[in-house]
């Protein structure tokens, strides 16, 4: 078992560590009406910090021993399945890159260990044994056709699971409160505010305090908590960056919250997990944590050189397009890291999207012929394109 190393020691060889570069999602074929994503070569990452080491930062784990065993088993199995994936984008919370994911991993392993040992194991031992021992041919074993009740066994059958559930309940109560996505993370630093708007099929990240925004890449300062507000300009979506922590829905007219933090510079896969049409599988992004200095440089650079986030830009963003299609529509090539960056982004954008969605300003105009009830910016996307009407 000694050979089962912590992921920290050899992350590059484990299956959850992620993908090779070179498969930008725009390589994936056809969207909607046979639109093809524009082919883009993904160039080496920007900014270029990579994270190769990970570490376990857990809460005090009551089942450390058990935990270690299970972890070893998991890791060994994993190592067997895939022994080489030289990658730099973190895919999984099992290789956590921030405090939230880290607690989740510990909690997950604890729960798996508990359930494996106290629930699965007895059954996996006893059942095959009974089945063999009392098979029809085994004439020598006892046969008690009328034996139908035993108070001791009944009590045990109920109280065993009940005790386990009671224990789980305590763990669950605590962890649920600790991991509430709405709960701000404890830190000396004030949280970085990010407003997230879900569009078909990309996420728009607005940094209201910096006046910049991005699509496709979510740059973050490492070590500083991030406080996200989310909404959707179209259908229900769900934002998740597994290596950093929880997911939360984004819905039209509603504002949800999510708090995350990256411990150190690195690249993390981010996605929408709630199916929302043809471009769903392309609605991915990379969260990039960088040093505070690098982050500030990035902000300055975008403030100077980004695309202005004005009404006409927002209108283009609200079209049902993938990121690549949007870049083309903006007459831009994506930056070398696949992102599209904007400046002149105010927090009004977010609130006006929420309001416009709630008022149904656009939906009204387009589908029901009612008069517009608000003068908010018309940014809500209308419909998925008439899709290639195919059948299963």
């Amino acid at each position: 078992m000694a050979s089962c190393t912590e992921p920290a020691k050899a992350p590059a060889s484990f299956w959850w560590c992620g993908s090779k570069q070179g498969y930008s999602d725009s390589n994936i074929v056809n969207i909607g009406n046979g639109h093809r994503g524009l082919a883009h070569q993904l160039k080496p990452g920007y900014p270029s910090e990579r994270s190769t080491d990970a570490h376990l930062r857990g809460t005090a784990a009551p089942f450390v021993k058990v935990n270690a065993v299970v972890r070893c088993v998991l890791l060994c199995a994993a190592a067997l399945i895939l022994s080489s994936c030289a990658s730099d984008t973190h895919l999984s919370f099992l290789n956590p890159q921030g405090p939230v994911a880290s607690i989740q991993r510990t909690h997950f392993l604890e729960m798996v260990a508990l359930l494996a040992i106290f629930v699965a194991l007895p059954i996996f031992v006893l059942l095959p044994w009974f089945a063999w021992r009392y098979r029809y041919g085994a004439k020598s074993s006892r046969y008690t056709p009328k034996w139908a009740f035993s108070r001791t066994l009944e009590v045990a059958a109920w109280s065993g699971p009940a005790v386990i559930v009671a224990l789980l309940a305590v763990l669950v109560w605590r962890s649920t409160h600790a991991l509430d996505p709405y709960k701000p993370l404890a830190s000396e630093m004030p949280a970085l505010r990010v407003q997230v708007i879900g569009y078909d099929w990309k996420w728009l990240f607005i940094y209201p305090d910096q006046g910049v925004a991005s699509i496709g890449v979510l740059p973050l300062p490492a070590g500083q908590p991030v406080a996200m507000q989310l909404t959707s300009a179209t259908v229900m979506q769900s934002l998740q960056i597994p290596a950093l922590g929880s997911q939360i829905y984004a819905m039209g007219g509603m504002v949800t919250q999510l708090h995350l933090q990256a411990d150190k510079p690195g690249r993390f896969m981010g996605e929408n997990t709630m199916y929302n049409g043809d471009g769903f599988h392309q609605q991915r992004f990379t969260a990039v944590a960088m040093t505070p200095d690098a982050f500030n440089d990035w902000v300055k650079q975008i403030q100077a050189h980004g695309v202005p986030l004005d009404a006409s830009t927002l209108k283009l963003i609200s079209e049902p397009t993938t990121r690549a299609q949007l870049a083309a529509a903006l007459g831009q090539s994506q930056a070398s890291d696949g992102g599209i960056y904007f400046n002149h982004a105010t927090s009004d954008v977010f609130s006006s999207v929420v309001r416009a969605t709630m008022d149904g300003t656009v939906a009204d105009l387009q589908t029901m012929g009612h008069a517009a009830t608000s003068t908010a910016v018309h940014v809500v996307g209308n419909a998925t394109p008439p899709s290639a009407e195919q059948k299963p």
């Binding site: 709630m358 008022d359 149904g360 029901m368 009830t373």
Partner: protein, 207 residues
């Protein structure tokens, strides 16, 4: 005093009736179960309404749309119809003459139809004030709940007419009796739903 005979409204098939009695037992119980399923349906629609009261989206709300006088009349009509149906049940159970039974049923029908007329009138005034279902989440929820009850009443009225037709055709046979007994349950049940509607929707809305 024994209350044994008061099992179901109008249930007049004692165990001496053998097969018919058995059929009545299943049928009445089955109908009760159906009503309870229907109650859940109404419950969910109520829940929709309660959680959407404030979703007026700038459109008209209860104070602009509801007319308490009209609701009071409707409540009274429905209560009266429950009473007349009760009388019909008694007429069935204690074997009063068939015309008398039909008379009570007719009275119930008239009250039911009157209720529906008032309700339709309510809806049309609401429409005139811009209270259309596509205006807001609140109005959608309103027009889910109240007309659903109205549709039930309308269905009850049609059922009642059919039963009278059956009596005219076959006399008061077991099947017609069982029909009336089930309709009685249905009718009283709808009155109970109405209590919830006038309390939760109208009175609470106008408070």
């Amino acid at each position: 005093m024994s209350r044994k005979a008061a099992k179901y409204p109008g249930l007049n098939l004692s165990s001496a009736h053998g097969k018919d009695h058995e059929a009545a037992e299943s049928l009445m119980f089955g109908f009760w179960v159906f009503l309870m399923s229907d109650a859940i349906l109404f419950g969910m629609v109520f829940a929709t309404y309660v959680t959407s009261v404030h979703a007026t989206a700038g459109g008209p709300g209860p104070f602009q749309l509801y007319d308490i006088k009209s609701i009071f009349v409707e409540t009274f009509l429905l209560l009266a119809s429950s009473f007349t149906f009760g009388m019909a049940s008694l007429a069935l159970k204690y074997k009063h003459s068939t015309p008398r039974l039909i008379g009570w049923l007719a009275a119930t029908l008239i009250l039911g139809v009157a209720f529906l007329c008032f309700e339709l009138h309510d809806f049309s005034t609401m429409f005139a004030k811009g209270g259309v279902p596509s205006r807001s989440g609140f109005l959608s929820a309103f027009f889910d709940l109240v007309p659903l009850h109205g549709l039930h009443v309308a269905g009850g009225c049609i059922w009642l007419i059919c039963l009278v037709g059956q009596i005219a055709r076959y006399g008061l046979d077991t099947k017609a009796k069982l029909g009336i007994m089930r309709l009685a349950l249905f009718w009283h049940f709808l009155d109970i739903v109405w209590i919830a509607i006038f309390s939760v929707v109208y009175l609470a809305g106008l408070t």
